[in-house]
Symmetry: C2
Subunit: 221 residues, 2 copies
């Protein structure tokens, strides 16, 4: 299936959005990528994203939304806050930046519109462990309507990972022919270590567990 | 009616948002104000807003969302994209950013949440409909739902001017006891002239026509 259209991918250089980038390259005739910086502790993440996009000949744009980090401190932007190792009971982990995906997708839509692009891709998943409200399908659908009303346009938000757990994201990258690229070039680790990562933070554990599950499943086939 | 709650007002120091500020002071026990700057404003406008807020003992916050300027095609940073030398025919003026109110209200909500405030006020109106879709009631209601889903909160967006034309906004300011304050201290003029303004720009004409209509109606009562 080809949408015969242009698409803008929200792209961070992590496992999920890199898989989305190559999903978009398969399904759309023109792909561009936008990366958001908001005071992440690891600026290496941006360089990782830029290189992956450039290697794939995808135009890469960087938007500085560091204002968001000033509005609501989280452990991803404030080095004085230690990253939660576990999800606190009855609360979101302190890696949660409230409204982050809403800000990203709103700016992405405004930028896309200026380029006459009305398809957007985001790598959010509600199969993810954290339960962030702005990763849920209901939120994305509501946002899609709100964006269309805000600008009187017909945006379409695509969420190819929405119902995939991490092992299924690995599977998708394998189907797209970029399993090795995702495994060796992406950065998911909260501590800024590329590929396999630090091995200790929640993002690394999630990534590795998903990989183990996928490889086990694949080898049993 | 008192909501017995705290509220954050999107406040520019113009006629509409100043009227909203005093509407909020009547209906809420705690009022704060946030002003957005993104480069195109006369800096006098910010000082006007700050003074009105200070005189009313309302905490005043300024958020720099000049990122919006990065979204214009001429500001994109990728050298492979040819920069538009002229504004596209049949399009919005290049000072207008579609989705602007969505950006403002999203940041206002994130800021409000960090202060444990869940009521927001914006002075948008669909009565003096400017052609901007992000002033319509339907958009605001959709945005309210999306914000609540994004952050798993219960924000309430208030739009006291939604169905008032300019003469009715003057009437409201009179009812709130701030008719003279709005008339002499607010800045609506595109050319940055306080109170009555330059008298020539569309904003001045709209303001003056509304004032004439209101005073005529009042004097006939």
């Amino acid at each position: 299936m080809k949408y015969q259209n242009a698409v803008l991918v929200c792209f961070s250089g992590g496992q999920d959005s890199t898989t989305c980038l190559f999903w978009a390259l398969k399904h759309f005739s023109q792909v561009e990528a936008v990366c958001f910086t908001y005071g992440q502790k690891h600026s290496l993440e941006i360089e990782v994203a830029r290189k992956i996009a450039e290697d794939a000949s995808v135009p890469f744009y960087l938007l500085d939304v560091s204002l968001i980090g000033q509005l609501a401190p989280s452990s991803l932007t404030d080095s004085s806050i230690e990253i939660d190792k576990e999800k606190p009971a009855g609360n979101y982990p302190n890696t949660f930046v409230p409204g982050r995906n809403m800000v990203f997708l709103t700016f992405a839509a405004i930028m896309a519109r200026s380029k006459n692009i009305f398809h957007l891709v985001t790598g959010v998943s509600e199969a993810d462990y954290s339960g962030y409200p702005d990763c849920r399908d209901t939120f994305i659908r509501s946002l899609n309507v709100t964006l269309n009303l805000a600008m009187d346009e017909q945006f379409v938000l695509h969420t190819p990972l929405m119902n995939r757990d991490k092992s299924e994201v690995w599977e998708l990258s394998d189907q797209l022919g970029v399993f090795d690229l995702v495994r060796t070039q992406t950065l998911t680790c909260y501590n800024g270590v590329i590929a396999g990562g630090c091995g200790e933070c929640p993002a690394c554990k999630l990534r590795r567990d998903g990989l183990d599950t996928y490889l086990k499943r694949k080898n049993n086939q």
